[in-house]
């Protein structure tokens, strides 16, 4: 699995084996089995020793889409329906105060080719449906009568540049393009914005722009914007200079556009949310690849002001990554281990803290996390939306599967969950960038009743 046929055949030659031994290669064995992801959920994930590969494992789920009448599956007590479909790679969602749903249809800019590997990677991503054309727009959905079927669907904003995050403060609507935060004037009830935007601040963009999504969250008082800025590489293979002010959560002053690094060492902070009980900032983040099927677990964590979370030098505190040179023992010493592991390569791309009352009681305190799904791990991991229960402002138990069925029997991807949002009536919305659909999860029980235990 992890070697090319040529190499597997060649390895049988004894003289080659001798040379390989001389070269001090740590050859990845074919018996490269991944462990149970359950061992890597929670505060203390079990982490094996890291290994390096000749041929990093690739295990992608071929994108097939949803047939007619197929939907993701939800546990008893919940129901799921498509709110709308026919989107072009919907990545994130935002619910406006009047209940209108904004769907960000977006994809990353074209990746430059620096090494032969980049050609292969681009080809593999095409299989997984990650190379869809960048629509660069935001579509508005309005469900006036609350029947779950939007009556209005308009292009809200067009000609953007790989947008991802949205935040509304008063009448200022902020869109985080991949290279800048743009402010637009917004009046309640508006179904499209034609006014030209004003740039609040530049963000680290091209030419490499390895992790292009910029998540966005306004502070409760509206004075600051928090921006998740992903790293420009897997593990600094584009040079440390390309990582300037990346792998960080920025705090941008809304009045002046000035920014500071609120937290650093977070490889790719793809989703931000306020924890309602403590008011603390939380984030989901995607960790590094190519050191094993069970390394490094992606995570959900509270974000401390000034905190350093390890990337690129270390992970989960002081676990050193030998791929970074020169090392920084001074920084590693200060590295904070994240609060809650979600297991390896699940690729969390969305998080919402649920504060509504419309879903059954067991979902009323905690975080929904969408796991876009792995591409370099066997068996596949993620491809679902999970719920992490919170109590006292902290995760209080194992993550529960909430929305599954994104993979079919043959491990082909019908869809992949990305952005999450809670709509005006308390339903959970899920953007699906392979199924090109926005799903809506709601309670299937009459109000006031509780689901049977053990579901």
């Amino acid at each position: 699995m992890t070697r090319t046929p040529q190499i597997a055949r060649a390895a049988k030659l004894p003289h080659l084996a001798a040379f390989v031994a001389i070269a001090g290669l740590g050859l990845a064995g074919c018996d490269d089995h991944a462990g149970d992801p359950k061992m890597q959920i929670g505060a203390n994930p079990v982490m094996p020793a890291l290994q390096q590969y000749l041929m990093p494992p690739m295990r992608i789920a071929k994108a097939v889409g949803w047939g007619t009448d197929t939907t993701p599956t939800v546990p008893q007590g919940l129901q799921i329906r498509a709110l709308a479909s026919g989107f072009a790679h919907p990545r994130s969602l935002y619910v406006l105060p009047n209940g209108d749903v904004l769907v960000v249809e977006s994809n990353g800019p074209k990746a430059p080719i620096y090494r032969p590997k980049d050609i292969i990677t681009g080809w593999v991503q095409g299989f997984a449906g990650a190379k869809a054309k960048d629509a660069n727009r935001i579509t508005l959905l309005r469900d006036t009568n609350g029947d779950g079927i939007p009556e209005v669907r308009t292009v809200f904003l067009d000609h953007l540049n790989s947008p991802f995050g949205i935040a509304l403060v008063g009448n200022d609507l902020y869109v985080a393009n991949t290279d800048a935060i743009i402010r637009y004037p917004y009046q309640a009830g508006q179904t499209s914005i034609t006014a030209a935007g004003t740039k609040l601040t530049d963000l680290p963009g091209g030419p490499i722009d390895h992790h292009w999504t910029k998540s966005l969250l306004a502070s409760p008082d509206g004075s600051k914007l928090y921006v998740g800025v992903g790293s420009n590489s897997n593990i600094t293979e584009n040079g440390i200079g390309a990582e300037y002010e990346r792998a960080a959560i920025w705090e941008v002053d809304r009045a002046s556009g000035a920014h500071r690094i609120f937290a650093s060492g977070v490889r790719n902070p793809t989703g931000l949310a306020w924890e309602p009980e403590t008011g603390k900032l939380w984030a989901v983040a995607n960790e590094r690849d190519e050191i094993g099927p069970d390394l490094v677990p992606d995570y959900l964590t509270s974000v401390r002001d000034g905190g350093f979370y390890g990337w690129p030098y270390s992970y989960y505190g002081q676990h050193l990554d030998p791929r970074v040179e020169p090392q920084r023992p001074d920084l590693v010493a200060t590295a904070i281990a994240p609060d809650y592991a979600l297991s390896s390569h699940v690729a969390p791309l969305g998080v919402v803290m649920y504060t509504g009352t419309a879903l059954p009681e067991n979902y009323r305190s905690g975080a929904f996390v969408s796991e876009h799904g792995s591409w370099n791990r066997t068996p596949l991991n993620g491809y679902k939306v999970v719920f992490v229960p919170f109590s006292g402002g902290k995760p209080s138990g194992p993550a529960q599967d909430v929305v599954t069925g994104f993979l079919d029997m043959d491990n082909h991807a019908r869809g992949r969950p990305v952005g999450l949002a809670v709509d005006r009536t308390g339903g959970l919305l899920i953007a699906d960038d392979v199924g090109n659909t926005v799903w809506r999860v709601s309670s299937s029980l009459p109000p006031g009743s509780t689901p049977k235990p053990g579901t």
């Binding site: 390096q52 000749l54 032969p116 600094t236 293979e237 791929r323």
Partner: protein, 159 residues
Amino acid sequence: MQQHTRITKASFIGAAELKSAAMPRGQPLHKLLVAFSAAYFTGAFVTDLVYWQMPDVVWERFSIWLITAGLAIAGLAVVVYVIELAGIRRIDAPVWPRVVGYSLAVLLSLINAFVHSRDGYTAVVPSGLMLSATVILVLFATAWVDRAFANRLVLEHKI
């Protein structure tokens, strides 16, 4: 053994051709290509050494492209060699030291290409650098053995 058979046969065809074994008039094209790929692999060793001393990604990128180019030319050399074998009319020193040595160098370079496709420092140090060095050693050893065989052939036939 095969080669000796062929040499004998060829000797019957025309003893005058013997001279070209010692001082070939025109190099076959595959030898030129082999020399090209060897130069690429040597270049990769040099850029690996530089990266080792000064880990700037540009040197690692040089290395992987040089190795890739070397492998591409090696592939071409194999194709040309097969074509030239089909039309062989000349007497030559035994080819197996060259074939075995060069194949080993190419195989190691293929592994090296995968190692160099890793992300970060360990794409080069230590495995990639050691592989690049081993490839150079194998190529030198091959050239040396090949020369020794060629000299012996010349001595045998000069009598």
